[in-house]
Amino acid sequence: MSGAATRRGRGWAASLILCGPAVLLYGTFVVLPAVLGFAYSLTDWTGWTTEPNFVGLDNFRELAGDERFASAVRFTLFETWMIVLFFTFGSLVLAVLLDRLRSAKGLIRGLFFYPYILSILVVALLFKYLCNYNHGAVNLLLRSMGLGHWAQDWMMDPRLVGYFIFAMVAWSAVGFFTTLYLANLQTIPAELYEAASLDGAGPVSVFTRIQLPLLVPTVTTNLVLATIFGINLFGQIVVTTEGGPGYRTATVGYYIYWLGVKNNRQGYASAVSFTVFAALVAVAIVQVALLRRRQVQL
């Protein structure tokens, strides 16, 4: 009896040591400021004064009718959808191909990873250079090949700008997601491959029967990460289109930044931010509840 008690006692102490520092750091420097920051959503704070006025739920009422917020949500979902698809499945295919390489592995993998090394400022500069209608490399190349009629304003044409952002994000971040898949792929024991080759299985069947099932944990991880990545899109917008043309490429994150930093409505920005946060938490809770029900059923 006493043995179990001391084991439990040691269990608590161990929990504290293992989890404590993380919870302490995160709680103090992220959660606490976040709660305080969200508290501003009940005020009309501009960011410049030190004593804001309490306005109750006015900000949320305004948010309900805010057309620019609705438009930002639509655009964010549009981008997130493409991003999730690409980083969950596109990166998967790329990782599998990279894994099958038998020489020059490091070099080729490095080539695909390299854009991730660059800061977004640099990526933005490069893409702005490439996509400029008159002087950009893409159009110059097309014209030199006699395909000048295909030249477009890749960046600011309203029909193309959403894809421009996606292309920039995809190019710069594919290295991240592919690396996560590669890490998982490398843990697949060699015996499985050998057994498959003995059975005479082709590459596709190796993929579907062996790799894919064992990659499910990373697929889930990447799905979640890509979703969060898409929802948080903001820096990339600031350094390229600044929400333009007009306000069409303002994501939710950019709209919050615009409201708080440029429009001096930090209170309202906090309200928008809190709403998005609450929505995401609600989605997460629903997901967890659904999963749990399915597990219970199993």
């Binding site: 501009t46 400029n132 008159n134 600011m156 044409d157 043309p245 440029k262 429009n263 001096n264 409505r265």
Partner: protein, 439 residues
């Protein structure tokens, strides 16, 4: 059974953890007792750097034992930096304010300047904000239309068009001669220029008078709106026509740098841009003649240049300057008008002297085309005069967001093909209303 971490790995970890403690050990910046901290957006611009160093030297010469510390903001994201410093109660002693003066004053962060400051240097006092003055005044900055003289002469035009329709007709003739008529990029801030010009010269009185409230004041009171204003509607229709006829395909993705490249490279005939470009002429080795024309009106008034200096947007003392530092900060602000320093400021910013008691000439350049342009601008100012447009005073200005964001967004929408004038007018109204809540 288990693989213990090798000794090499352990050493590596120790080194890394030592590296973690080291940065933490670096003491925070001690705020020196005899230091005046000053912000400036130098960001690699030689002209600005040279000016600031001279200013610093002038002060340190006259006040031995005191130092000026530059806080280089790189670009004008002073917003976030200032807000961060306000949050920690650590605003620098002297700050460059741009359009943030009202916010800083309302937050109680700026120390007013007495009118004696301006009288001493012969500067026309700026319009008061809530009854007080706060900042240094730079030079006179005007905005008009820069033209490539040769291209317009080729179309048979040597004098400035007197109405907007004449301007448009002239652009058409320039285009017919095979030149690119209009240099216009929609990607960045410079997209708003044509619309800003039109609003400032058509919807506002040429001279502000105290008994007649400006359009801004009336809008803030709700007496007028863009949606119902006939002039606003006319302006937007003319903007749509302008871009449809003269903006090149792909203009939307050009930014200020591309515009510079096109105009200074002699590839575009007309550029609606401020007088500071005269300061770039030498740096870009421009060798053709540039004329600086006034902006023609759409409502039958005389062409005019817009003066955008005047509302207080220079350097100000903050409430961080306490005790002796306050006197020193004030002295630093006076050194701004040391003739050598002021001359460098005008040269770097391409502005014209506003301080009549300071012996400086207008902006100077040894590069002939640059000097010719400076003189040309001065002649246009003398002949056509200036209007503040909507830059009337700090408490009589559209919300800052309107100027820097909304006008640009409207022009981008026009470039993107929006022809619904009502929708564009609504954008102007909605943004104005939203921004008012942040004031």
């Amino acid at each position: 059974m288990h693989t213990p971490t090798s000794r090499g790995a352990r050493v590596l970890w120790a080194a890394i953890i030592a590296g973690a403690i080291l940065p933490a050990g670096c003491a925070k910046d001690e705020r020196g007792a005899k230091v005046i901290r000053v912000t400036r957006n130098i960001g690699g611009r030689e002209g600005f750097r040279v000016h600031f160093e001279a200013w610093q030297a002038a002060f340190e010469r006259g006040h031995p034992g005191w130092k000026v510390e530059l806080i280089d903001l790189g670009n004008q994201n002073g917003d976030e930096f200032y807000k961060a410093r306000i949050a920690t109660g650590d605003l620098p002693e002297v700050v460059m304010t741009w359009q943030l003066t009202p916010m800083l004053v309302r937050g109680g962060h700026l120390v007013p300047l007495d009118s004696g400051y301006y009288e001493k240097f012969g500067i026309p006092p700026p319009r008061k904000y809530k009854g007080k003055y706060y900042t240094t005044q730079g030079g006179i900055q005007v905005q008009g239309i820069a033209v490539n003289r040769r291209m317009w002469a080729d179309a048979g035009i040597t004098d400035p068009p007197q109405t907007w329709d004449e301007l448009v007709a002239g652009l058409g003739r320039v285009k017919a001669r095979g030149h690119r008529p209009l240099v216009f990029g929609g990607r960045e801030w410079s997209a708003f220029q044509p619309l800003f010009y039109a609003i400032a010269t058509n919807m506002y009185d040429r001279e502000h008078s105290l008994d007649k409230p400006s359009w801004t004041i009336r809008r803030n009171r709700g007496e007028v709106r863009f949606a119902t204003d006939r002039t606003a509607r006319l302006i937007l229709e003319k903007m749509i026509h302008l871009t449809d006829t003269f903006a090149e395909k792909g203009a939307a993705s050009d930014g200020y740098n591309e515009e510079q490249r096109i105009f200074y490279g002699g590839k575009g005939a007309t550029w609606m841009m401020g007088c500071w470009i005269a300061g770039d002429v030498e740096a870009n080795k421009v060798d053709f003649e540039i004329d600086y024309w006034p902006i023609p009106s759409m409502t039958g008034r005389r062409p005019v240049l817009i003066a955008t200096s005047g509302p207080q947007s220079g350097w100000a003392m903050t409430t961080s300057a306490t005790g002796e530092k306050r006197a020193k900060a004030r002295a630093f602000l006076e050194c701004f008008y040391d003739p050598n320093v002021y001359q460098l400021f005008l040269n770097g910013e391409g502005q014209f002297a506003a301080a009549s008691k300071v012996p400086v000439k207008g902006p100077q350049s040894a590069w002939k085309p640059a000097q010719a342009l400076f003189d040309n601008i001065q002649r246009t100012v003398d002949e056509y005069g200036t209007t503040p447009g909507f830059h009337i005073a700090l408490d009589d200005m559209p919300p800052p967001i309107f100027f820097s964001n909304t006008l640009k967004a409207v022009m981008q929408e026009i470039l993107a093909g929006t022809r619904d004038v009502d929708k564009l007018l609504k954008m102007l109204d909605d943004d104005w209303d939203s921004a008012l809540k942040g004031m």
